[in-house]
Symmetry: C3
Subunit: 333 residues, 3 copies
């Protein structure tokens, strides 16, 4: 329970209406009595007639049906604050499980958590504030920075370099062999001697796979977030602050700029170059070179506006065919 005015203070704002008691946060489409709900976008404003007792809104012109409200500049940051306020994270106890296997040649700083059945290889180092959950396998000469969270059953291959504040979700594979072979009756495997570099604040989704470089590194830039079940192939370079949605695959040696947004199930061919501030629609097929700030979609990809026009026209295809036949008949007459 919290006074609405306390919540306003937390959000660096003030209340409009009564200073009522608030029992928690609820989703706009699942509002519960006594709670506060965040109506962040115009589509949600009409939900102000729901069960919640108060609302967070971006603007005092929203009609909250007489219920008290708080105006905030960034409704998403307000959601983060409220989630942490009403459902605070339990303080984490940093302990090393006696059931972990940490070889003598590994370096583990004070203030690290290592769970059951974790294996840490020779020459690897883990810095303070980092938590390694059960079942994680860390190879040799891996460096993991400060305040990282490595969830259960993640595998990190030899020589990976992981920055600070990196989060890797369950089952991800960091540094697996790239898919490279010399064709032949029995193909010859191209050895992969490089590594993976995850810069600070990177997040890798559950069961995603990041292959290491043939020589040199596969690099994911600062603050880039990759969703579940994504594939990043050998020697790919991804810049800063990108969002890559689930089940997207990026082929070998492709270079991605900064602040690129990709929907889910995108496929990018090898040796492609994607500029910065590019937006790629879900399920697109991408290849070649994409300029900065481009907005693309479709398979094979096109500028999103062209693609939208083409999709609209394609729906009229059966009818267009009829019109051509009609024209031919007329002309033939």
């Amino acid at each position: 329970m919290a006074k609405l005015s306390e919540i306003a203070k937390l959000l660096d704002s003030t209340i409009s209406g009564d200073d009522i008691e608030i029992s928690g946060l609820s989703l706009p489409n699942e509002q519960k009595e006594g709670t506060i709900s965040v109506l962040g976008t115009p589509k949600l404003y009409e939900l102000a007639s729901g069960a919640a007792a108060a609302y967070i809104v971006p603007d005092d012109s929203v009609d909250t049906k007489g219920k008290p409200f708080i105006v905030v500049k960034n409704h998403r940051l307000a959601i983060v604050s409220l989630l942490n306020y009403f459902i605070p994270e339990k303080p984490h106890k940093y302990t090393i499980s006696p059931k972990a296997s940490i070889v003598e040649g590994a370096t583990v700083e004070d203030g690290v958590s290592i769970g059951d059945f974790v294996s840490v290889g020779d020459g690897s180092s883990i810095r303070k504030g980092t938590r390694i959950y059960p079942g994680v396998v860390i190879g040799e000469n891996v460096s993991i920075g400060e305040n990282c969270i490595i969830y259960p059953n993640v595998v990190i291959y030899d020589n990976a370099e992981i920055g600070n504040h990196v989060i890797i979700l369950a089952g991800a594979s960091i540094g697996s062999d790239g898919f490279g072979f010399v064709p032949g009756q029995i193909p010859t495997k191209i050895p992969h001697k490089g590594n993976v570099v995850l810069k600070d604040h990177v997040e890798i989704g559950a069961n995603s796979t990041i292959d290491r470089g043939t020589i040199g590194s596969t690099v994911i830039g600062v603050g880039t977030k990759i969703d579940n079940l994504c594939q990043v192939a050998h020697n790919v370079q991804i810049g800063t602050g990108c969002f890559i949605a689930s089940q997207t695959g990026i082929s070998g040696s492709t270079i991605i700029g900064d602040y690129v947004f990709m929907g889910g199930q995108v496929g990018i061919a090898d040796h492609a170059t994607v500029g910065s501030f590019v937006s790629i629609a879900a399920q697109s097929g991408v290849h070649g070179t994409i300029e900065d700030k481009a907005n693309i979609g479709g398979t094979p990809m096109q500028p999103i506006k062209d693609w939208a026009r083409q999709v609209a026209a394609a729906k009229q295809l059966p009818e267009m065919k009829k019109r051509i036949i009609a024209l031919e008949k007329k002309i033939g007459e």
Copy 2:
């Protein structure tokens, strides 16, 4: 070995033809001498001239070339019965491995199996008849019902609620963080305080990922079956009795009705609403609202009939273009 009459009795039917000895079950397209094979659909009837000694058929009008046969109403249920009859499951010994790590605060009922290197967190409970295979990691406050099978290296995050008769295949991740951030130079992570609820008789495929809710739950309904490498995002609600084929991805907050069928590699956008008894073709791109009983396909999705017509017309596109040019020439004359 079994008499054909015994098999008929098992299937609650009678034999037509001689009561011969049957050595086992074989696939219609890999028939082996002395075995029985199930010709369940008209496409398979012509395989009655194969090597098998007898057949299961849905109808006595099928010409089995003089070989004895058994008519059954549901040939798939017959396959299940025959598989279990000829290749019976070994009785399972319920034991707790001394190499598992079960904290004192966890509750494990009698008659549970827990394999090597399983980790069970504080406040979690596992009910009788459930088997946990090696390498599974179960977080805190997880409840797992009766008669579940959790295969090796599955990860179940804190607070998940798993019903009875649930099967989770190897490497699946249940309850990983949703993909939610507030954009910014360094994006701010939206904490995920909700959980995952898997109702009774749910099956989750190998290496699939089910994210937990931001607040509230991601819910998979009774009897819904999800294939390998599927992604179900935060706060998705899936109804009863759905079949979701491999590599399908369902984005955040989407609601799926009951008895929905999805082919493989389908992508569904966030905040979509899919009705009940909907059928979605493989590789479709789905968004918005889909009414009950709709049959859809394509990217972006369309009614399946429209899509089929459009695909057919699209193949004639190069020719249509020629015809337009021919018309233009004629008119120009």
Copy 3:
């Protein structure tokens, strides 16, 4: 460091130019001073003006700007030789971790490595020269041949047969239950009594999933390489020497010939038949029967030439529509 002439000897060739000292290998697009770089294809020849001190080329007509060079027949095999020469693999120590769990009924030959927290079930056998990394779970009656590498947290279900020189990358699931059910209010699971067979020299990518047969086997042929996050369903048969790129899914009972190449994110329907020497473009949707040597693409698939023509024509669709309208106007006049 190595003399250029030593490198030439390694590659079974001779040098043109001075016999300089070479410090290592660098990528064509990341050339470093003092190193050698492989310019294998015409697109790369212009990089001969880079920082590298010498080049490997396929032909002595390449202008290396006066720098010494070595001509080789197969530049990819040269890359393999140079990677192994300059960055040799550390010799592997074969040891069995005391923290592994190997039941008495399992057979492990001398000269095998088994990592921490590996679980090996009853009746399973592992032959010499094979390395099992930490966290791998091997079920019952699994046979693993010689000189295999099984990376961390791989799961191998009961009865799998794995040949020699097989590599399985982190987190892959070999032999999970096929996705087969008899529909009903609560669907009935079809038990999967078969297994998975991986022939010699197969490689399976990270977090890929290979389901076992209903009866009989799911078979991956000699030398076939499967990339990360691929799905191979129950009773699929794949021939020899195929390359299957990331995130591809192959549905149940489909048969693939020899030396088939698939791009990423391909989907193949169940019961399809793909001939030998077939090439399938990325993101294609495949079904039915494909003849030997076919070259296909698109969803639904078409011969690649038809698909390319159709894609080109589709881009002109909005314009075609305008031309039809113009014709109609003219005719109407």
